[in-house]
Symmetry: C2
Subunit: 194 residues, 2 copies
């Protein structure tokens, strides 16, 4: 890459990084180009050069995070893993993205339709992943409707934790904090009947 | 009441009713005094005469709805009811307030601290009500931590339904639509072990 192209790429990355931080702190709603400019230390003109509109920048951030999370899930969470490994891998993956996911769930009703749809698709992917792993591991039979009823409740609980979360820093990951409770709930819902 | 006082009261009620509708449709965030004035068919000055600030009006609406919901819960949901009656009464009560509750949960992170606290207290009240009823009805022992773990998941599922809800009208109550699923989940979580 030429020096100028490299600089351009670095500026783009900085805008994305700093705006991601801002979004995690204050949400997608009500964020201003002025805040973004101040935080990234680039002019508002430069932001528009890279992203055309503020919405475009915000959508890029949400889209790429959800996309990466989906890729991690597909790579790391598989039907043929033991239940414990599967849940651990799932919680590891989600905790990497929880700052943005938490915000996305909080601001869901204010997001554009395609982004809402992307979050809905993520939801479906997660539930199917869980179903496949449960089906693979559980010897006693739960029918598919009952299983999805319980998976829905389990995922709702995790979403609720993300919604309750106030400020995101790596040090105060809510998924890490509640890991014990989440794992316990999982065992209560899907453990073998004793 | 004198005629003028009565008219004043009617105006206040109309502002509250019409703003409640608006909030249910568009949320607490981004609602303008202009919209409220247009919808209630009173001047912006009259609104401020009754409520001092827009925030004050919005807080009044949320506060009184949650307060009434709590009163209904306390009156209608009791420990010594059968599980079926308890759940039915709970769903009847929540469906009366779901338009506002749905919005309140959606906009939670944008609400004032006292209102967030009021919603947290509502949460605690609901969970304790469930606990007391379960304790009264369930012959086999679930310890208190496990019971609250399951109650949390159950309530999270209901909140999730309210969060997913798009437009509120009495005809499309999400609680009524999902009543079967909610009741089923309840039985799966708290039914007697077979």
């Amino acid at each position: 890459m030429g020096v100028r192209l490299e600089q351009k790429e670095q500026t783009r990355e900085r805008i994305i990084d700093k705006t991601t931080q801002l979004v995690q702190e204050n949400g997608f709603v009500g964020i201003s180009t002025k805040d973004i400019s101040k935080n990234s230390d680039v002019s508002q003109g430069t932001i528009f050069l890279h992203f055309k509109t503020k919405i475009n920048l915000l959508n890029t951030i949400l889209y790429s995070n959800v996309d990466n999370f989906e890729k991690d899930l597909i790579e790391q969470c598989n039907a043929n893993q033991s239940t414990d490994n599967f849940v651990r891998n799932f919680l590891d993956a989600i905790s990497l993205y929880e700052g943005i996911l938490s915000r996305a769930y909080k601001d869901y009703s204010y997001l554009d339709d395609p982004l809402q749809k992307q979050l809905d698709d993520l939801d479906t992917l997660i539930k199917n992943k869980f179903y496949d792993n449960i089906k693979h591991n559980r010897s006693t039979n739960l029918n598919i409707v009952d299983t999805f009823t319980l998976i829905d409740a389990f995922i709702s609980q995790i979403k609720q934790y993300l919604l309750e979360k106030n400020v995101y820093t790596k040090a105060n990951s809510i998924i890490r904090q509640r890991r014990g409770r989440i794992t316990k709930l999982y065992r209560m819902l899907f453990g073998e009947e004793s």
